[in-house]
């Protein structure tokens, strides 16, 4: 497994809050890597550090051997990193089709001048070529019936799927999915899990996924890392991680036999 992404000793502080403390991770090419942990554990912060939204207070993010810690977020698409957001982040007033087309921004060559001249400059031809590619993504995610609908009018589950489509349109090597199944019903979750597996296996994208549904995580992940209060408390294949006592304490609310302090309230609330 060649290291595609390496997180090296990343810490992130917001004033007094330590969102991440000295986290290190390595994700290999072709992995489906999950990050789990209770709410407020720092999972989204970690994804934000990778996607350039946050700059770690300390440490480095290395992608394909390059230090990208300080490169601006708008560079990520070009170097091959795409993401979805925990809270819906679609372009509400655009059609589904246009939302996905925006994902191809860095692959398109026309600018505001050549775009305005449309027929004379090849902008039209370019639009059509990329439209074809976008339609493939629409077919893959079964979005045909809503391709012309305004994104803001869709159901929650569909919007999550459109967000995935838009991130796919970037044609990233590494895709970051922040709670792609949150708020979905069972059927939608099953569909989404299947799409993510296909994304990983058929499209060859390396996936880093944050997810709360342990069943799905254990089923489809190649490896799992667990965050708790900003610290990585475990990492490994799903079976190992599930057996880890710290994880059971942090995530499932059991008392940690190593850290247990008789006066301490169990961490159940944090894991809710």
């Amino acid at each position: 497994m060649a290291g595609l992404l390496e997180i090296r000793n990343v810490s992130l502080r917001f004033g007094g809050v330590r969102a991440l403390s000295n986290v290190s991770l390595a994700v290999g090419k072709g992995e489906l890597f999950s990050v789990i942990g209770p709410n407020g554990a720092g999972k989204t912060s970690l994804v934000n550090c990778i996607s350039g939204r946050y700059r770690p207070t300390e440490g480095h993010v290395v992608y394909k051997g390059q230090d990208i810690t300080r490169r601006p977020p708008a560079d990520r698409a070009r170097i091959g990193i795409g993401r979805t957001f925990q809270n819906l982040a679609l372009f509400q007033h655009m059609s589904v089709l246009d939302n996905i087309m925006v994902g191809r921004h860095h692959l398109l060559a026309n600018n505001f001048i050549t775009g305005s001249l449309y027929w004379l400059t090849g902008a039209r031809a370019e639009e059509l070529t990329h439209r074809r590619r976008v339609e493939e993504i629409i077919d893959f995610l079964d979005l045909q019936p809503v391709r012309k609908a305004q994104a803001g009018t869709l159901s929650y589950g569909l919007r999550k799927r459109v967000e995935l489509a838009r991130a796919m349109a970037i044609e990233p090597e590494l895709i970051l999915l922040d709670e792609p199944m949150a708020g979905m019903n069972l059927e939608e979750k099953e569909d989404m899990a299947r799409y993510i597996v296909d994304l990983n296996e058929e499209f060859g994208m390396t996936v880093i996924m944050i997810e709360h549904d342990m069943g799905v995580v254990m089923d489809i992940s190649s490896r799992v890392a667990v965050l708790d209060f900003g610290k990585k408390i475990a990492e490994g294949v799903p079976g190992e991680v599930m057996a880890n006592a710290h994880v059971r304490a942090a995530y499932l609310g059991e008392v940690d036999p190593v850290l247990a302090d008789p006066d301490d309230v169990p961490l159940a609330e944090a894991g809710a």
């Binding site: 708008a74 560079d75 993401r83």
Partner: protein
């Protein structure tokens, strides 16, 4: 906005090319061409007064289109648009008067000069948003207004400047009936350019910045670039509109380009529909015709029974201003999505007629 489109059953798109046209159906395209031909016949039918209103609608709608790209499509704000309109007017006159560049070329060059001004005054947009950006554009309004008054080498100072008529090979477009075609051509050109922009890469990027700037950034869109660019594009159309205005009136004075005028531009796009190209035209028509309608109404009131009963007399012109204000407020309350939205509903109604509701 309705999620289902009201394209008649049986109109199937058989290629992506057919699905990316400006007009959704052949019928709607033909209707637009027919409307354009009818408008082009206006000088044969209408008198000077109506033609002058149509010319006004023409150059104002081009400038309003620029503002709609900035405010409606990119989600920024400007309360200095009239200053850019003025900058275009003076630039074109200056290029022609001082540098001897024919008006034919001076108009597009004035558009480019105004673009440069727009890019400079748009730089704060990289860092400022909302009310703070509004205040920065207010500064642009006053700085440019002050510049017009002081830079007499450029604007003729307080005396203003003459602008010669548009001409091609010695044929001067110096009457309303002739100049009408100059404005109409520019209007078609500008609206086609803007429509193309909005259905290609950078136009989508502008809307993406408006709708969700964080995810736009993840799609590789450089926020600073597009926020500033939007000011440049907006100023380009303002400059073209201003230049057309200059060579129509054939005189440009420094007094015309006030903040009040800037706010009227905002009125046009809000009433027409933010983020709607078609709405820009409708809103401009509304804002040009409303004072005329009110003028007509108040002058027909003058000397009548109501006038005498309320002893309005000289106050009748204030009544006109108040009525304009009231209509705009009512409009915003009851038609917040603008005329473009109403227009869509009317079209939908006729498509379903007689089975509506």
């Amino acid at each position: 906005m309705a999620t289902h489109s009201l394209i008649p059953a049986g109109e199937y798109k058989t290629s992506y090319a057919a699905d990316t046209t400006i007009f959704p159906t052949v019928t709607s395209r033909n209707a637009a061409i027919l409307a354009l031909i009818l408008v082009a016949c206006a000088p044969l039918v209408f008198d000077r007064y109506i033609l002058s209103l149509m010319i006004q609608i023409g150059y104002l709608s081009i400038a309003a289109l620029g503002l709609n790209i900035l405010v409606g499509f990119t989600g920024q704000i400007s309360i200095g648009h009239a200053a850019f309109f003025g900058f275009g007017a003076f630039s074109s006159a200056w290029l022609n008067n001082v540098h001897g560049i024919p008006v034919f070329f001076a108009i597009p060059l004035a558009g480019l000069m105004t673009t440069a001004a727009g890019l400079i005054f748009g730089l704060p947009a990289a860092r400022l948003k909302g009310l703070y950006l509004a205040i920065a554009t207010l500064a642009a309004q006053y700085i440019l207004q002050d510049f017009f008054a002081r830079a007499s080498w450029f604007s003729g100072g307080v005396a203003g400047t003459v602008a010669y008529p548009f001409s091609i090979f010695g044929y001067a477009f110096d009457t309303d009936a002739r100049y009408f075609y100059v404005v109409l051509s520019y209007m078609v050109l500008c609206f086609v350019l803007a429509t193309n922009l909005m259905r290609s890469r950078d136009g989508r990027a502008l809307v993406a910045v408006r709708d969700h700037y964080l995810s736009a950034e993840m799609m590789g869109i450089n926020l600073t670039k597009y926020r500033t660019l939007s000011f440049g594009i907006s100023a380009f159309f303002a400059g073209i509109g201003g230049a057309l205005y200059a060579h129509y009136l054939q005189f440009v004075s420094v007094e015309g380009f006030t903040i009040l005028f800037s706010i009227q531009f905002l009125g046009m796009i809000i009433i027409g529909g933010l983020g709607s190209i078609m709405g820009t035209i409708l809103g401009t028509i509304f804002m040009v015709l409303l004072p005329e309608a009110m003028e007509w109404l108040t002058s027909s009131l003058a000397g009548g029974a109501i006038d005498r009963a309320l002893s309005l007399k000289n106050n009748i012109s204030y009544l006109r201003e108040m009525a304009i204000g009231a209509v705009i407020v009512l409009f915003l309350m009851f038609e917040p999505d603008g005329l473009a939205h109403r227009w869509k509903q009317i079209k939908a109604y006729w498509k379903l007629y007689p089975f509506a509701h």
